[in-house]
Every structure is written in structure tokens, then in C-alpha cells.
Symmetry: C2
Subunit: 386 residues, 2 copies
């Protein structure tokens, strides 16, 4: 078995989640709007799942809107909020290290007449809360800061940013996908108005996400139709997927604490051994305030794509950064925002562990990586020796 260390890009669905989903595919498959028994079963499952998922982030069930995934949740949060509240101001604050969907939505809103400020990050990928507070003007209606980076794993000071937004009475959105199931979340503690979550990031099925929308926060729907999800997201509900996400939450509640300790141990073994054994290797992201499962490296004189393909041939699956833009040749905007050069950014390797990793996976990485790097560096015109 190959060592899969790319949990940030995609996760397997937990077999217990599949077991929970199957009855809603085969027997209780009704449309929750239907006035009969299978419709009623679907309706009950929908509302029970909504409760379960709400509880996971200390929210009310009626503030949970099911979407087709985190990207759609980000669209509804930012575009839906900005267009609905444009009479209150036209300024949006976000950061330089957001997921590509946030950046592309921000571009869209800039074309639609909004002003978007992207707060820079320090060399570890942290946003300064003071910088953020200083960027807020009378026109600011929304602050959007990712809970943690999906690439370098740096965790932001969400509660402090939430406090700033509370004082200034500005709505606060967080794309919390990368932190799902890794950091405990609490929308009250963090004063969050809007939160995007993904089902797959907690070992639920793909094609499903959630937007938490605090009571009173007004949005314009982005998918128009039969008026499902409190009129905010139309389309027949994906009940089996929703039940799967709720089951993923139930499992996470029981196992998260122990799991996170195990991830930290794997992460720290990777970081210590790789930085210790491989010359001119560096950690990207924050040394301590980082996701428990994220180890993100750069290696001088190595090209990330060749490294990935060679690692894959030796049974290790990793990432150069965000899978959402892996197929482009552009270096990651997150890595550039740390102040890295294009060459440095291209020499990156992200290893993220998850529920089904074993100690053997760590051993495999530590066994094959040094030799591969040595060989690639020998072939590289960019590398001038240790």
C-alpha cells in the first residue's frame, strides 16, 4: 500500500459514513417535500442532520444552509452578502493567503464595484490583527479570513479577528474548510457571521458543504429555484450526502481529540526528521500555530512537480500545495505572499496526514525522500551544492 499524505487535497469517505448513507440511497430515498412516508423519513433525516452539524460549531440548526460544497458556500457568503448589503458600504477586507475561490470571488466583486483590501501576511503566513483592524473603514461591510491555510497550515487568530469585527459591527466570514475536524470551532466564541465548511474535509462525501449564516445576516440566494434551504439555496436536497456529513460529524466528535494527537506526532516526526536530515530544507508556514496534520517544506534546487511524480513512483502521494491549482504552472499565491521567490515556491512539498495513516507511512516517506532529493538535485541546474 502506498503512503497517502495528501489529505488536504481529498479524503476517503469513512466506511461508517457510507453505511449511514446507504439506507437514504435505497429505501428512505424520498423527496423531503413529498407528503408520504419516504418523504417524511427524508425530511426527518434532513432536520436531524442539520441539528447534528449545527452542534459541531455551536450554532443553531436554522442557521445551517446545505450547499454543494465549500466553493459554493464561499460564493453564497461573499457574493450573497456583498450584493445584499451594498447599501451599507462597498469595502471588503480579506487576506493574501485565502483559498483560490475567495480570491476569484473577490476579483468578481471588484468588477462589480466593490473595493477589496487584501491584508498581507508575515513570513509564517500570519495576518496581523492590528493591520486588519487598521484597514477597516466606514465603508467596510465584510471581513473574510480563512480559519487556517489549506496549503501551509498556518492558523489565524480567528477569535481576535472576530472580536475586532464585533467591536466595529462588521460581518465576519471564515472559510473554515482546511481546519474542519482539526480545530474545535465555536461560532459564538469567534463571533462568526458566516462560515464555510466542506463535508469531505471531515471524511464525508464530496459534493456537499455547509454555509453557517448567523441569524439576521442577510444574503441574496445564488442558486434560484424551488426555494429549499430557507429560500437561500434551491435544488432537491441531497439527503444521503447530508446524512453522511452528519455521521462524519458524529464520528469526529468522538474521535477528534485522540486523532489530532496522533496527527501531531506524525507531523512532528516528518518535520524533525526531514529538516534534520536533508540539507537546505525549510519549513513553510508557522512553526507552532499550524494545523496538526500539516507539514509543508521547501527544498532548494528542486522542482516540486518532478519531486511529486518521483515520490509517487516510490509510493508516496503528496502535493505541491493547493490541489485546486495544481494543474497550473503558476506558483502558489500563498507561498509568494510569504516573500518566497518563484524558484523557492516551486520547490515545495506539502504532506498532510489523516485518519487512515499508519506509522509505516511516515517510515516510507523518511526512507525514500532523502535519496530522491539527492538524485533530483544532482540533475538540477538550479542546485549548487549543500
Amino acid at each position: 500500500m502506498a503512503a497517502y499524505l495528501d489529505y488536504q487535497s481529498s479524503k476517503p469517505v469513512d466506511p461508517r459514513v457510507i453505511d449511514a448513507m446507504v439506507p437514504y440511497l435505497t429505501t428512505s430515498f424520498g423527496n423531503p417535500s413529498s407528503l408520504h412516508t419516504t418523504g417524511e423519513e427524508a425530511r426527518e433525516a434532513l432536520e436531524e442532520s442539520r441539528e447534528t452539524i449545527a452542534g459541531f460549531i455551536n450554532a443553531d440548526a436554522k442557521d445551517i444552509i446545505f450547499t454543494s460544497g465549500a466553493t459554493e458556500a464561499n460564493n453564497l457568503a461573499l457574493i450573497g452578502f456583498a450584493l445584499r448589503n451594498k447599501d451599507k458600504g462597498n469595502h471588503i477586507v480579506t487576506t493574501e493567503t485565502e483559498h483560490i475561490s475567495i480570491h476569484n470571488i473577490a476579483k468578481y466583486l471588484a468588477k462589480a464595484g466593490f473595493t477589496v483590501t487584501k491584508i498581507p501576511v508575515d513570513e509564517f503566513g500570519k495576518v496581523s490583527v492590528d493591520d486588519l483592524a487598521g484597514s477597516i473603514t466606514d465603508e467596510t461591510i465584510l471581513v473574510s479570513v480563512g480559519y487556517a491555510s489549506n496549503e501551509i497550515g498556518t492558523v489565524q487568530a480567528i477569535a481576535e479577528i472576530g472580536e475586532t469585527c464585533r467591536e466595529k459591527e462588521i460581518a465576519f466570514h471564515s472559510d473554515a474548510v482546511a481546519a474542519g475536524g482539526l480545530l474545535p470551532m465555536d461560532v459564538e466564541r469567534d463571533n462568526l457571521s458566516l462560515v464555510s465548511l466542506s463535508s469531505n474535509d471531515i471524511y464525508g462525501p464530496k459534493g456537499l458543504g455547509v454555509l453557517y449564516r448567523k441569524k439576521g445576516v442577510k444574503l441574496i440566494p445564488q442558486v434560484i429555484g424551488g426555494g429549499q434551504e430557507f429560500g437561500l439555496r434551491s435544488g432537491t436536497e441531497n439527503i444521503a450526502g447530508i446524512v453522511g456529513m452528519a455521521e462524519a460529524v458524529r464520528i469526529m466528535r468522538q474521535e477528534m481529540a485522540g486523532e489530532v494527537e496522533r496527527f501531531k506526532s506524525i507531523r512532528d516526526q516528518l518535520i524533525e526528521n526531514i529538516l534534520g536530515k536533508i540539507p537546505r530544507s525549510y519549513l513553510n508556514g508557522h512553526p507552532t500555530e499550524r494545523l496538526p496534520n500539516n507539514a509543508h517544506f521547501r527544498f532548494d534546487g528542486v522542482e516540486g512537480e518532478s519531486l511529486l511524480l518521483t515520490l509517487n513512483a516510490r509510493g508516496v502521494m503528496g502535493s505541491t500545495g493547493s490541489a485546486c491549482s495544481s494543474k497550473t504552472l503558476e506558483p502558489s499565491h500563498t507561498l509568494l505572499s510569504l516573500g518566497l521567490t518563484h524558484e523557492q515556491a516551486h520547490g515545495s512539498l506539502e504532506l498532510t496526514c489523516g485518519r487512515f495513516n499508519k506509522q509505516g507511512d511516515v517510515d516510507t516517506v523518511l526512507e525514500v525522500l532523502p535519496g530522491i532529493l539527492e538524485r533530483l538535485r544532482k540533475l538540477s541546474p538550479l542546485y549548487d551544492g549543500d
Copy 2:
């Protein structure tokens, strides 16, 4: 076992489809943008599935855009097309019997400055191709006509409407959800520019649909992000769902012809027996040009909701019409467009059969329905005798 005759509202997923999906949930679960083996497996599955689904409607694979369902496909088709092509004209033609999502999208476009003409239908729910052709002006950019009604089952003259659109060089969209797996489709024959399809309507999983978009037809994306689906629909691809929809298509190709004959037999037994045995009962929709699985009745002096609930208590699950608006008290816009009064529209019952119905289900309906109607009519102040 209860008799489920509400296949139009929701379908179970075929167990063979679930079997095809499981490996993409548990082992080949990679992100198709990832540069490693499980990513590659996902990427191959995505493109193979795209080919399979394209073949089902005689389309090219690169014209298939995966969405989260038919409602989202309708949004991308109509809003995406109208906003992208508004320099060519501001007039859109549709009909009075479209799915609620089309009507609500049309309302949205009307607010955005477009003029929408809704062509009326005759007493059987058919659109006149001459009326439609006559409504086209120099400003018309798009015609949207559902392949068949999801409520009364009436099938429209799609090839003729396509011919009209070809002559006038106007884009032609069809919401083909209700006809999926029931009528053979061919985007070339019908000159379709845009077609919305749903996975669940061919016994695939919910939360997945397709927009066919003919080469050269320009759209503005409605979900912004990482640029998946040719830049037209962002978000990590739901590979297991997509593989499931492709498997549903493979099964459909082998079984559709035989299945449709079986549905017609069930439909015709229901229609003949119910109209024959129950006084003051009528068929809604076209007597012959109707979906092979659709029997849609109205009964004088009966209230549809009470009828449904009583039927359900006796083991028969049906619908009053569109599940998408079952929870509202408004009578169906489709039934009103036939010229029915509110009372007539409220006394409706839709029975739609599907893959897992047995002869026993028909027998159950015919056994319990006459008695229930008799009892309800006795209680009804609206009914004045046979």
C-alpha cells in the same frame, strides 16, 4: 411493502450504481487535480464518465459540465447565457408549464432587465410551435422549453421547436430532467444548445446534474472558484457521484427500451381502470403525447392533500404534482395553465412509476383508491354526487 408511485419526485439509487460508486469513495478518492496515482484514477474516471454521459444524448464529452443538480444547471443555462449574451438582445421565450426553477430564474432575469415571454399551453399542456415562433423578435436570444412536464407528463415538440430556433439562429435550452431515461435524447436532432439533466432522475445519486453546453455557446460561470469544469463551474469534482451517474447511464442504455414498455403498461392500466371505475375522474395532460410512466388525474370534490395522506396510510405513495412546491398551499401553476379552476387543480393525483415497481403495486392502487375517494367525497362539502 408500500407501493411507491412517486418516481417523478425522487428515485432510489440503483444498487449497481452504489457498487460502482464505492471504490471512488474509499480507494480511488483522489482530487483529480492532484499529481499522483489516486488523483490520476479520479481524473480518468471523470473523463470516462463525461464520455459516457455525453454519448447518452449524442453530445461531445467536452460539452458536458457537471453541476450539483438540475436546478443549478438551469441557473447556469439561463442566467449564465442571458448575462453573457445581453449585447445581442434582451428577450427570452419560455412557457407557462416550466419547472418552478425556470419560472423563478425568469423572474430574476426580468428584474435584471430582460423581457420574458411565457407561451401559454393548450388544455393538454402542449405548446404551439407556431405561437412560439410568432413570439420571437429581433431581441430574442434564448428559447427555454422543458422536454416534458414533470407534473402532467405532456411531451413537447422539442425537435420542431429546435428547428424553429435553428432557422432563426436562436439558442435553445431544454430542462430535460423529467424526460431523462424515459425518452431518447439527441442534441443534434433537436438542435439543442443547452440541456439540463439530473443524475437522480436516471437512478443515480442526488446532488449531481449536468448542463450540456454546445460548443461555441458562451456562458458566464455562476459558481466562481478554482476553475474546474472548463472554468464554467468551480468546486472540487464529486467523482463518486459522477461515476454513479455514468453507471446509471450505462444501465439505462441497456434497459431503457424494455423498461419504457413496462412503464407504459403500468401507466395504461392505471389510466384505464381509474377513469373507467371512478365517476367524475379525469386525466390531466395529453392523452397520447405523455411520458410513458406518468398518470395524472383529477377528481371532482376531493382535496389532493387529504387524498395523498389517506393513500399513504393505505400503502400508496403518490404526489399532488411537483414535489418542489408540495409544501405550499398554492395550486400548481402548470395545472392552472391548462385552464383548470383552483378547485379542480387542488383535486389532483400524480402517479409515476419506475424501475422497481411490480404488478402488485398497480393492484394495490386499484384496490384502495376507489374506496378512499368515495369516503373523502362523502365528507366533502364540494362534492354534489356522481
